[in-house]
């Protein structure tokens, strides 16, 4: 196994991890501050991807389409929060599961009604070729774009949460919601905005991953669980934890998928190894979560006081 291949897969892992982070950022705040299990978070990712595919096709410009889709999804998230999710914060986890599961059904079929079961979305023409990063290491330009956007948004989000007044209020809410409310923080209004930003980030992930994976109904269901795993590993309510957890999970998943089949080929027949490898890579992510929880029951960066 060459170093170049390893480096390439590591970049892929980082890139997937950053996209997972965009999903997990909103999820961890809703989970941590509002104690809300939101299964419909993956649906926002799907909605964002479909809007992007539709708008890119309509406008003919990748950037315009994606930016518009991100803004629309953010708006949609805020409407959803005010119209429904807000009333669920005070309910128990079971009600939240039922309501957001219902929301998945509605959004899946709703998207199918409007757009059909899938839409084509391809990377912009100018970024379709590879870039030579190192001698011998050709990396797709589009994946570099995803990496760049992911890193930029991670830094922006870090500054927003750590350095601004709004971020301080969110952190206060995450560590103790009652106390923050007692101190005069209008958590309700703040959270509509936070939810909107979370939804917009989902749309960024959905529209950027769209050309690599596929824009189809149900695309949110599998990645949602990975995002939950990230949230739990990082510590519920912690943005920093979500970032580190997401990069770890992204790398484990990607590297596992790339190299596990080679490992298995050593002692399994080839067609078994090619199936067992990726499956075992997925299992590793969950084993990793179990190991983290066994050592640090509240995740890597516990927030709640």
């Amino acid at each position: 196994m060459s170093g170049v291949l390893l480096l390439e897969q590591a970049l892929n892992g980082l890139q997937f991890g950053l996209m997972l982070f965009l999903l997990a950022a909103g999820l961890t705040l809703v989970f941590g501050v509002m104690d809300m299990v939101n299964l419909a978070h993956g649906s926002l990712y799907m909605v964002g991807a479909f809007l992007a595919a539709w708008l890119v096709g309509l406008t003919g410009s990748f950037i315009v389409g994606v930016v518009a889709a991100v803004a629309l999804t953010g708006l949609f998230g805020m409407v959803l929060e005010v119209g429904l999710l807000r009333t669920l914060y005070v309910r128990d986890h079971l009600s939240q599961v039922l309501a957001t599961f219902a929301l998945i059904l509605i959004l899946n079929d709703g998207v199918k009604m409007i757009f059909g079961t899938d839409l084509p979305l391809s990377a912009p023409e100018a970024l379709s070729g590879p870039v030579e990063l190192l001698p011998g290491l050709h990396y797709p330009a589009y994946r570099l774009l995803i990496l760049g956007v992911g890193l930029l948004l991670a830094v922006l989000l870090y500054l927003l949460v750590q350095k601004t007044r709004m971020g301080a209020l969110v952190r206060a809410g995450a560590s103790n919601r009652e106390m923050a409310t007692a101190m005069g923080v209008d958590i309700k209004r703040l959270f509509t905005l936070v939810f909107g930003i979370g939804a917009a980030l989902c749309a960024v992930a959905g529209s950027l991953l769209g050309p690599l994976l596929a824009v189809q109904v149900g695309m949110g269901e599998n990645i949602l669980i990975l995002a939950f795993v990230v949230v739990v590993i990082g510590g519920i309510g912690s943005i920093r934890g979500a970032l580190i957890g997401a990069v770890l999970v992204g790398c484990i998943d990607t590297l596992g998928r790339a190299f596990m089949p080679h490992v298995f080929r050593a002692f399994l027949p080839p067609q078994w190894a090619s199936a067992a490898g990726p499956a075992f890579a997925s299992v590793t992510v969950y084993l990793f979560m179990a190991a983290v929880l066994a050592l640090k029951p509240r995740g890597l960066f516990p927030v709640r006081a």
Partner: protein
Amino acid sequence: MAQRAAAALLLAAAMAVPWVLEAMDAGYYLSLASRIVIYGIAATSLNLVLGYGGMVSFGHAAFVGLGSYVTAIMISEGLLHAGAHLLAVVAVTALAALLIGSISLRTRGVYFIMITLAFAQMLFYLANSVKGYGGDEGLNIRARSALGFGLDLKNPLVTYYVGLAVLAAALVALARFVPSRFGRAVLALRDDDVRAEALGFPTYRYKLIVFVVAGILGGIAGALDVNLQGYVSPNVLHWTKSGTLMVMVILGGVATVWGGIIGAAALLLMEEGLSSTTEHPEFWTGWVLLAVVLFARHGLVGIAASVTRKVLRQ
């Protein structure tokens, strides 16, 4: 007494379903009836953990799916004896529930939700990888569990009645469990496990027992399901299956004896009715479920109870 009579009446009605369908020339609905009964068993087993045990398990599909896979694998290897299937399903699901439960029960709250989900996901990916038994394409079985006396579950009537018998037994057992000494202890530790522990109840062990019993019952539902469908795929282990079972329990009524079967019947009938009238059944199902969350906090059993109360008062 009145309740017992009502239950007996309901059982008689359920037993008459195949004849009624036959008489109405709607025999093809028998498989829907069987599906309702089988999902009713699975949802009832989840209700035991979720409602009575207070453990929000998001991985119950693991046990139902294991039951299906164990049965399907035995049948595809030529082992058809239903008794052997039952024995293997009970052994495997009990062992799995013991393992998953003993680890998961060390956590609580959302972490319990996540870790039970994680175990189910691991089994989902494992099932995807076993190429020898279908892998991600799933496994078709040609034969069915054989009960002896020339009866086997290939006959849809036999499947229906076996399912109904299991469901009835599970409901009777659940109704007896609630007022029993053990049942009251479990309810006590659901409501306040610190206090229950202080009173000397072995809370961890009691919870684990409930978890394992529910896992076994879920596995039996899975064994029946694969006999009904003739097919099993990793999808039976997907997290949305666990979610569907949870939805059935909450829809019917958490911690009520009838909640599981009522929720299963309501959801499956609604889906069936909607899919024959609209192109987008899930869309409308979602709205109905949302309405239940917002306006009927105790599920359908709760609605029925409050209506009965009002009628009795007048």
